[in-house]
Symmetry: C2
């Protein structure tokens, strides 16, 4: 529902630059088509690169009307915010209605489906534009049974100490690095942002419990049949976070990975919104390795450290510390490259 | 949608007595209303007690028509089979249509919803009867955050080496034993059969990934607010079975149990339909205890051994063996009582 020809406006009202805007930021960096504008009235007049280093400079506007005025080729409004639980704030509805009347298609990754709101659906039909509710799926998935083992594909899963710390980005960077050295590698999207970016994948956290693992199993087998040698799977949540651990484990056991890359946000001490302390990287390595399926024991082979906002010295100190603790290769694949982690994935051991 | 006054016919065509009929068998034993007949043409003319020891003798018929002829007070047809994946076999549809025309309400726990089939729905409306698709839920669940910790309720979760080995039954027997010694205890249903039996609970495997843990959290808090001192939660699946482990973990982390009872089917060597070996009870005790939330470490305090079909000598040998291996209290709470396991749950340690 999104091709390389689309021109996207990202909706991140009052939130761009914040953590909840990870969908929009991810899309700007990795999306398969161009982002022409961002909506955030608090940052009106700025550009994205003045808010977040490393981004292309894209103008930010206070309203959809103003963005469209300056970017007449825009044809999609992408909801660029992902609050926990995926609820759609009702106060955004007037903006959505406006966007439809301005002939923008809507790309929505939240759990609340805009196409389920009859008035919004009717407006989209009247205006001749579409609504893509990324998490809405009518496909019937099978139950899983470690069938990935029957295919020669190498599966690398990015797992994390917490949610929203960059597991998708690490999988994207690994895929990029693998392609750069001539490997046939596929990024497997498992969340709304990844799906928007790649135009493919499964919305695993929106699939009913019994079929989550089967959905990712099917997706990896699809990649294997397409003759990819490597699948870099976007991980979800955290194995010790009560809100998401079920999804995390379904993804883990459904994809039956050969190797794991553990993602961690430097200096995070507690799991988000909980009193659960992140004791050490070793703690998470142990828990993840312990819970791997006995038919294919997975090992953590490297650590992706998200050091966003830290200076060079702090970054290298933290990388050194993590290497000393875990005796594994550690890097920030966004700040540097994913090569070091890729080598650990390519190593046959 | 089911009260103590209903009279139920259980539909288990070609399957009664087999493992897939666990829904029907569970309902006969523990259901909140009377079962008057069972449908299975292969066992036509027999009674349930001749097929499964310990059941009340309920007549089995080849067809719904014949059952209704002899049991004119029957008002519900309960789909008593739970195939893996919960798919509804289309060849049953003519029987469902007949049942509706015979003025029977339909109780269906499968993932395929009968009320979604427009012709079936229309027939039920025409006949003035209802369809209860137990797994269909429109309730919006929250995401979980270990909020159970804020309430004084004691939570015991039945976990298992595999699926369909009696976790619901163990939770029901524990609840019965707790009530017998004067404890205010609630059975918390998390699957279709448990919900049919208790008229309450959540269909956790039919809830989308992000909200599974929140659903059970909400259910336990409800019980806590009703002033129950103990919640015996029906476990699901197995932490090492790729098809169900995500649901298992969501239930575990959402309910934040104080104690675990590990359920195991004696002599089972492999996880159902997999090449995953059950190495030992210790293996599962370790995996379950390892993956408990750091904010409330849960311990396995007893083993419920399903020794169905084994004689007295074999049973006591296996119980002894499991006790020697685990140094925990072990019993078959169906063959004997759950008292031994209950005592382990009541023990403050």
């Amino acid at each position: 529902m999104l091709t390389s020809k689309n021109k996207v406006i990202i909706y991140a009202q009052d939130s761009f630059g914040g953590e909840s805007a990870k969908t929009g930021i991810g899309f700007i960096k990795y999306g398969l088509c161009e982002t022409v504008a961002v909506i955030d009235r608090k940052l009106d007049g700025k550009t994205t690169s003045s808010v977040i280093k490393d981004l292309l400079p894209i103008p930010i506007y206070d309203s959809i009307q103003n963005a469209v005025k300056y970017h007449k080729n825009a044809d999609c409004l992408l909801i660029g915010i992902a609050p926990a639980g995926g609820k759609f704030p009702l106060e955004w509805l007037p903006d959505i209605r406006n966007a439809l009347k301005l002939k923008l298609n809507i790309i929505n990754g939240l759990h609340d489906f805009l196409s389920d709101i009859s008035e919004i659906k009717k407006t989209s039909e009247d205006e001749g534009v579409y609504i893509w509710d990324v998490r809405k799926t009518n496909h019937k998935f099978p139950t899983a049974n470690a069938l990935v083992l029957d295919y020669p594909i190498n599966v690398v899963l990015t797992v994390g100490t917490d949610a929203a710390i960059g597991k998708m980005t690490v999988a994207l960077e690994l895929t990029k690095s693998a392609k750069a050295v001539g490997k046939s590698a596929k990024f497997i999207a498992t969340g709304q942002t990844g799906m928007m970016i790649s135009g493919d994948g499964i919305p695993i956290d929106a699939i009913v419990g019994d079929f989550m693992a089967g959905a990712i199993e099917e997706e990896i087998i699809k990649a294997a049949k397409q003759k990819y040698a490597f699948a870099f799977v976007e991980g979800q949540g955290s194995i010790l976070h009560p809100a998401w651990s079920g999804v995390t484990l379904a993804l883990y056991h459904g994809s039956v990975p050969n190797k794991l890359i553990l993602c961690h946000k430097a200096n995070y001490e507690y799991l988000r919104n909980t009193k659960i302390k992140i004791e050490s990287l070793k703690q998470f390595i142990n828990v993840y390795e312990n819970i791997s399926l006995p038919v294919r024991k997975a090992k953590v082979v490297g650590i992706a450290l998200n050091t966003y906002g830290l200076d060079e010295k702090q970054t290298s100190d933290l990388i050194k510390k993590a290497e000393d603790e875990t005796l594994l290769p550690v890097t920030d694949p966004v700040k540097y490259t994913a090569e070091k982690l890729l080598n650990a994935c390519l190593n046959p051991k």
